[in-house]
Each structure stands twice: as C-alpha cells, then as structure tokens.
C-alpha cells in the first residue's frame, strides 16, 4: 500500500494578510515588509522614575488601587490588520524574562484589561488603547510580570499547512506593596523512579512549601524520549492534602504496569494557584522482581 505524506504545497503562493478583507488586494504588496508595532505613550514622568518606564509598563501599586496607561498599536504593512490586544503571563527566571504560551494568564495579566480587545487597522494607521491595571484588595505582595501583546493571527478556517501567529508586546513589571501576603512558593525535590509492590511503576517527588501560605498542589507527569521514542502521560500527580508552610510532603504519580522500564525523560509540572514549578530528570524504573514475562518491551 502506497502511503503518501503530503505536508502542504503552497509556498507563499498568496500573501495572506492578517485579515480576510485584504486577501485579494495584497498578493503583490510585499515590497517593504512593514509590521505590527506597539509602543507606550503618555508615560507619567518624574525625575526619579525608572528609566525603563519609558519602554515598559513599570509601577509600584498598593492592593486595591488601579492605574491606566496608553499604548499605541500600529500597522505599517500594506494590508488591513486585525490586531488582538491582550495581556498574558510572563516570568522572570534563570533564563531571563520569559513569556507564557498563548494567552496563559498569571496574576498581573489577569488584573490587566484593555479598552478594546480587537482593533482593525487600515494600512499605515495606528490606534490608541487604554490599558487598565486593577490590583485586587487581597493581592499578594511582590514583583509581578506580564506582557501586553498586540497579535496578528491568520484568518483561521481555510488555511492549511504551517500557519503563523505573530505578536509584539510591552513587558510589564509591577511590584505590589503594602498589605497582602507573599505569593505561594514551593520547591520540587529530586524525582525518584519506584515500583510499588503491586508491580506498578511510580514517580515520587518531595514538595517543600517554602512560602508563607498553604499550598493546594496539583499537576501532572509526562514521560518522553522513552524506549523507541515512546511518550507517556500526562499522568496526574496527587498529593495528600493542602501543604502547610514549612512542611514537606511526598507526591506521586502511579503509572501503568505495561510501561517499559526506560530510560525516560520525566517532567513533572505542579501548580498551586498561579504558582507553577517543574522539574525534569532521566529515570529508569526498577525491574519487576517477580516473574520475567513482564520484561520491558518497546
């Protein structure tokens, strides 16, 4: 039987612009690229303010307060652009400032709203958006990160092949002060591969609550790069109950008996509210001690 693998065959035959309306107009209009831009306008200036406040939405806010900024979204392409404007999560870690995938929210982004979620921009035009940050009264203190994005997506439906979503954003660094409590925080210990007396392999991990509030942890485990490239999961990870501050507890994911022994690349991702931690390790499950027929096979 002859199987044909077709990935696609339109190599930019038509420049599909950001909006369906312009589709027929722009097939030749690809000379100067142009793009979608975003900038911060009407920045409140004070001599002592952070110089980065010119570039980013930077502020220090008390719980229960709100602040507004204006941003300008521009379309320098030759096509009409439908631009989605929204805030999404971000984090600051060992690899620097990193963006959440898609519209995944964090605390700061969930407090951020825009005057219009969708802008239709004619070629060469721009529009002002008002961004409002409303910090809830019970907000936890500390530094929060997010990104305000202007995003152009392909006109969904009919297109097949490799599609592109392009977005450009303004970073948000906001510290919340006065009142409130620290955000939840926890650490994940080393992943351990075990085999229960029932013969089922399991992955166990110690979770330590390093924050000041109780944790309500849930999450999942995925296995990849297994024998023959097999993947497994996600398997739910369960933890006894809410974990008190300063306490450690063992969490485990129970897996199927048929699972090959490994080695596997195991990744565990746990969250408590908006706090997410993950850990990765290469694991091999102990061999079954009883009868050999259950030996791992691909």
């Amino acid at each position: 039987m002859r199987r044909i693998w077709i990935v696609l065959l339109v190599f930019a035959a038509i420049m599909v612009p950001a909006s369906p309306a312009g589709a027929t107009l722009t097939s030749q209009a690809k000379a100067s690229p142009g793009g979608i831009g975003i900038r911060l306008v009407a920045v409140p200036t004070s001599p002592t303010s952070n110089p980065l406040a010119r570039l980013y939405i930077i502020d220090h806010l008390a719980p229960g307060t709100s602040v507004s900024r204006q941003v300008e979204v521009s379309n320098t392409t030759r096509a009409v652009a439908d631009v989605a404007v929204y805030a999404a999560g971000a984090s600051l870690g060992g690899l620097g400032f990193s963006f959440s995938a898609g519209r995944v929210q964090d605390q700061l982004s969930s407090w951020t709203s825009v005057s219009r979620n969708m802008l239709r921009l004619q070629p060469g035009t721009d529009a002002l958006e008002t961004v409002t940050l409303s910090v809830p009264k019970d907000a936890s203190t500390g530094e929060k990160y997010a990104v305000l994005w202007a995003q152009v997506s392909p006109a969904s439906s009919a297109h097949r092949g490799l599609l592109f979503v392009n977005r450009v954003g303004i970073r948000m660094y906001v510290s919340i002060g006065l009142g409130g409590t620290l955000p939840p925080s926890f650490t994940i210990g080393r992943l351990a591969a075990k085999r229960a007396t029932s013969g089922n392999p399991s992955v166990a991990v110690t979770i330590h609550n390093s924050g000041e509030g109780p944790l309500d942890i849930s999450g999942s485990l995925t296995l990849s790069n297994g024998p023959g490239g097999v993947r497994g999961g996600p398997y739910p990870v369960t933890l006894g109950s809410a974990l008190a501050p300063g306490r450690s507890e063992l969490a485990a994911a129970m897996l199927s008996k048929q699972l090959p022994g490994g080695p596997w690349k195991a990744t565990i991702t746990l969250h408590s509210g908006l706090t997410v931690r993950s850990a990765t390790a290469t694991l091999t499950f102990p061999a079954l001690t009883d009868t050999p027929p259950q030996r791992s096979s691909p």
């Binding site: 693998w5 599909v16 010119r54 898609g102 097949r160 490799l162 979503v165 392009n166």
Partner: protein, 187 residues
Amino acid sequence: MERFTTLTEGRKSGKALVVLGAFAALAAFSALAAGTSLPAAAETPASFTLTAGALSISAPTASVSLGSEVASALATTMSGQLGSVTVTDQRGGTTTWTASVISTAFTPTAGPADPASNVSYAAGALTDSATVVATAVTATDLTGVSTVVTGASTGISTVSWDPTISVIVPADYAPGVYTATITHSVA
C-alpha cells in the same frame, strides 16, 4: 486703561521695554497683551520631546509548506524556510528584546499528530543594523515557548532572519496534510 496695564507689565523687564520702544505702539499693544510672559519665554532654552517609537515585528502571515514526501517506514526529517522575520526596535536608547517561538503539534485531519517536540527552529544568519547586538539560539523542541533570537539595541535598530523549520516525521505516519501553527513573540 488697557494700555496702561501693559506698560506696567513691561516695566518689570528692561528687555520688554526695549522691544516696546522698537516697535510701533500699535504692534506693541497686541504683542504685549498676549505676551506678559514674553521675556520668560525668550530665556527658556529651546527643547523638543522625542517620544519612544514602537517595537514591531514583521513575519510571514502566509501559510507556508514544508513540501511533501511519501510516507515512510523510517523516520524522516522535513524542513523548509519560513520567509523573512524582521524585528524593528524604534524605542531608542538602550533596549533589549527577546524573540521566542512556540509550535503546536503537526496535526492531520485523522490519525496521530506529530508533536511539537519533533519541531525545531533555526534562525540562521542574522542581518542586523550596526546599533544592535543580536544572538540566535537554536530551539530543538518547540513544545514550550523557546527563545530563538535576542537583541540588545543601543538605538533605532532592525534585525532580520530567515528561519528554517525542521520536523521529524516518525516512521509509519499516515498520509495526509499536517497542519501546525507557529507563534512568534517579541517583547
């Protein structure tokens, strides 16, 4: 009456009086009536304000094909170039940005999808202006948001690249058109 008040104003500054004397009384009236702050304005250093420009991205919006091939009993790799991606930083001054990429799985109309962990992204050669130091990082697994290019700019700058996407096609995958969405994020 009006005239009297303007002269009083003028006396506060020698400069203004000279101006008054040099011009005809007619002209002086209108100038001074509007210009009680004229001397002060003349001493103010000239200034103008440059507002920060935009950070922008120009990247393919057209769907792109990586080509087609016959389904195989062996794993294969398909790759293709996406077309030019340009980041323009008009914010001015010292700025930095990160461009990152994430992919969905390549999903056929039926059958198993080819996961994003099999998708890699190489920015290739960067074309940049003199005011920016840009660094490319190859991403071999686009399951998560992966940084592919970073820029540290000292002025208005642009960086362009023409990325290559490679997809590992596992053995014995079913024929069909496999579709994925790749998101470029710049901030």
